[in-house]
Amino acid sequence: MPNEAQIPISSDFDIVAARQQGRQLALKLGFQGGDVTLIAAAISEMARNIVDHAKKGEMTFERIQNGTKNGIQIIARDDGPGIPDVNQAMQYGYSTRRGLGVGLPGAKWLMDEFDIVSKVGKGTTVTMKKWLT
């Protein structure tokens, strides 16, 4: 497996596939059991957001470096409806659907870095990073 992977997301099966891809890359990069599970959980929440809100999109996983630090970067991108109020969406328990409202804030807690850019009518891009310690 190379140091990056890209996977289209359009159904609940793709959520499982994305999780597995991300897990494999994380293991390859040297992440340990507990961290691998946290990464897989964050991927799961972001992939689900794409399916639930945008119908389709894509996720990319890649190895990143910063000086001597190594890590994994996960990007979830869609051309969906976008999020009108990102601050509200980042609040724990806030959901526009019947969800638990933990997806975005939860994923932020699981990862070391989290960035979200969303434009109404254009789509949403979430970039998350986790560093090897």
């Binding site: 609940d12 507990g34 599970t37 959980a41 799961s44 689900r48 969800g99 933990v102 807690w109 699981l110």
Partner: protein, 124 residues
């Protein structure tokens, strides 16, 4: 992938064999609601040992299953949540409130036995 459901006395055991898609989990919910009636079961064990992640959807669905089965007269206990999975759930702020949990299958059976006994005692 369908989850096999075994009958063990007055209990049902749903033993998840592989990673599940959302559709598989919803199928399990419907199967259990159906089987609890057919087998007149008092308790259900869902073994999630093989699940590598229990995310918000899985948590919501497991909670829904437990509440549905309760309405059908059966107690539910989730067994086999792995340590890393539990850690990730806590980090995500996910809880299985109102749902029984036990370490493994053996503990799950003990849990259901005790619940059944308590019910009989309460009824007396």
């Amino acid at each position: 992938m369908q989850v096999p459901i075994l009958k063990q006395g007055s209990f049902l055991i749903a033993s998840i064999q592989s990673v599940l898609s959302d559709a598989d989990l919803l199928q399990l919910r419907d199967d259990l609601a159906d089987r609890v009636g057919k087998s007149r079961s008092r308790g259900v064990i869902i073994d999630v040992t093989v699940l590598d992640v229990i995310d918000s959807f899985a948590t919501r669905t497991l909670r829904a299953i437990a509440h549905m089965l309760k309405l059908r007269g059966a107690e539910t206990v989730i067994v086999g949540i792995q340590p890393e999975v539990a850690f990730a759930m806590v980090q995500l702020g996910l809880t299985l409130e109102g749902v029984g949990t036990s370490l493994d299958l053996e503990e799950g059976l003990t849990f259901l036995d005790q619940r059944a006994k308590r019910k009989v005692k309460d009824a007396k």
